[in-house]
């Protein structure tokens, strides 16, 4: 636990991590304001329209805000988590290992009576703490926004859905954090240790959806894209069968869209169970790979070449 707290503390000292996390949080605030502003405007227009309908003796239609699934207000979060959240987690994951390698403390650490598995679990714990802290901040803003908006039908299922969404977002961010930590451990060059996971993130986020379902790069960030029909033909049948299970970005987008009720689920063959399994399996596999990488790290040549 101490190791996790210490690693998290060291990781947060990196300016890039702080910048990305701050940008993520700023986007959440802007999104919350825009959501609040748009809903408040609709409410105000509706309040003015009701007396007019009544004066004309026409039936008063239901308030569109009440018709809207409250959780769909969080749809922008899906994009922010996929874009800034994953990148911030990736850099943080890099930092929790790279800070030790750059500081040159690993020979001292590895000569202490603490197992390398324990140290690796400390790094994973640090990542979990950091990801949860970022998402708790974002979640708090979302909760306050929803409570401040009049006309929203908030009940237990909404709060449960919110917890589910943040749980999925945490799994998604954690996967990239672990990927960053693995590369920071395994590569001899720091440039490669940072560029490689960023390239994998770009490929998973923008290229794989295009190859498996012909979803363009911009659409790939939008949760609504899960409604798009996968084009027919043997090419997409093969690519989606081969690459689909690897695409945690698609699993995340599908689960988020389902939880936030912004999908009909018509255009996809992904199931909620399969998508969740994909995210959980990815995290377990990456955590295992990080433990192995740290266990095999050469204590006598633990610094970076560049």
């Amino acid at each position: 636990m101490l190791s996790a707290m210490f690693a998290a503390r060291i990781g947060w000292r990196d300016r890039t991590v702080v910048l990305l996390a701050a940008l993520f949080f700023a986007m959440v605030l802007v999104s919350a304001y825009l959501g609040w502003s748009a809903t408040a405007t609709v409410n105000a227009i509706y309040a003015k329209a009701v007396p007019v309908f009544q004066a004309q003796g026409k039936p008063v239609p239901a308030n569109p805000v009440g018709e809207m699934p409250p959780l769909s207000l969080l749809r922008n979060m899906v994009t922010y988590v996929a874009l800034l959240g994953a990148l911030a987690a990736l850099v943080l994951g890099h930092q929790v290992v790279a800070s030790d390698r750059k500081a040159g403390v690993l020979p001292l650490v590895f000569s202490r009576p603490a197992s390398r598995i324990g140290l690796a679990l400390g790094k994973i714990g640090a990542l979990v703490l950091a990801v949860v802290a970022v998402l708790l901040g974002a979640g708090l803003v979302n909760v306050l926004t929803m409570l401040l908006l009049p006309g929203l039908a908030l009940d237990g299922t909404i709060w449960l859905g919110m917890i589910e969404f943040y749980g999925v977002a945490a799994l998604y961010m954690l996967a990239f954090g672990l990927l960053g930590a693995i590369c920071a451990t395994a590569f001899a060059s720091e440039s490669m240790a940072l560029l490689t996971p960023v390239t994998i993130w770009l490929a998973l986020t923008f290229i794989v959806p295009q190859v498996t379902a012909n979803i363009g790069p911009m659409a790939a960030l939008n949760p609504q894209s899960v409604n798009l029909e996968v084009p027919g033909g043997s090419f997409f049948a093969v690519t989606s069968a081969l690459l689909g299970p690897l695409s945690i970005a698609e699993s995340y987008r599908f689960l988020s869209a389902s939880i936030l009720e912004v999908t009909s689920g018509a255009g996809t063959t992904i199931t909620a169970g399969g998508a969740m399994l994909s995210l959980v399996f990815a995290n377990l596999a990456l955590a295992g790979a990080l433990i192995v990488a740290i266990a095999r790290l050469d204590a006598c040549r633990s610094g970076y070449r560049d």
């Binding site: 101490l2 403390v105 001292l108």
Partner: protein, 244 residues
């Protein structure tokens, strides 16, 4: 009682290069052992194996009876290690760094222990100073502090006076002797400096191309050869690479 350090036919090869070649050595408890040798003789490789950082190719080594490969976790409980260039978290204070290493070593009541150790090393004022702002000598003291937090039986020092000014060298030398006398620690010290050895150590070993070329107590060396100058000549005659 097991010796502080037991080394039996220890070898380490990097491809065709033998960094250590059948090294056999025993160091008793409470000794200050000076390990001399030219650059590349295998001194740091020996320390890396004894501190469990590197696996030997063949042979065995133990610390207070604990094998450094088969029982590495127990062996680590007996050792403290100060590398040639002490590297710590620069952005943190000495206290935060020491707290981390104390917890990693399983020290109970770490805050109290940190206070005690800094008092032993005569530097309590460094506790709140950022490591990145410290001089080489101050950094070396904090490096020494992290190594003795858990009261190890054996302290490994790799070129401890490297890069220090004469005052820093004397201060560190006094601290090493103090740790040996007050806490009873066995000290294993890699060094180039002959003068260092005669003023600090109780026994020496000279390593030449991975092989032990000479081993005696300082008293024995001085009785046999006389002063420092002769000790230097002895060293140069045993290590032709250094003389070249």
């Amino acid at each position: 009682m097991d010796p502080a350090i037991g080394i039996d036919r220890l070898s380490k090869r990097y491809g065709s290069l033998a960094a250590l070649d059948n090294l056999t050595l025993e160091i008793d408890r409470s000794e200050i052992f000076g390990f001399l040798g030219h650059n590349g003789a295998g001194k740091t490789t020996t320390i890396n194996i004894l501190t469990t950082l590197l696996a030997p190719t063949s042979g065995s080594a133990s610390i207070c009876g604990c094998d450094v490969v088969a029982d590495s976790m127990k062996a680590r409980q007996h050792i403290g290690y100060v590398p040639e260039n002490v590297r710590l978290y620069d952005s943190m204070t000495a206290r935060d760094n020491l707290l981390f290493f104390a917890r990693l070593s399983g020290v109970r009541e770490p805050s109290q222990r940190i206070g005690e150790v800094l008092a032993i090393l005569d530097c309590p004022e460094l506790a709140t100073k950022r490591v990145g702002d410290m001089s080489k000598g101050q950094r070396q003291r904090i490096g020494l502090a992290q190594a003795i937090l858990h009261r190890p039986d054996v302290l490994f020092l790799d070129e401890p006076t490297s890069g220090l000014d004469p005052l820093g060298i004397k201060t560190l030398r006094d601290l090493i002797v103090k740790l040996n006398r007050t806490l009873g620690m066995t000290i294993f010290m890699n060094t180039h400096l002959i003068s260092e050895v005669s003023k600090t150590c109780t026994s020496i070993g000279v390593l030449n191309h991975g092989r032990l070329a000479y081993r005696d107590t300082i008293a024995g060396v001085l009785a046999r050869f006389g002063d420092d100058q002769t000790l230097e000549e002895l060293y140069l005659s045993l290590t032709p690479a250094a003389a070249a």
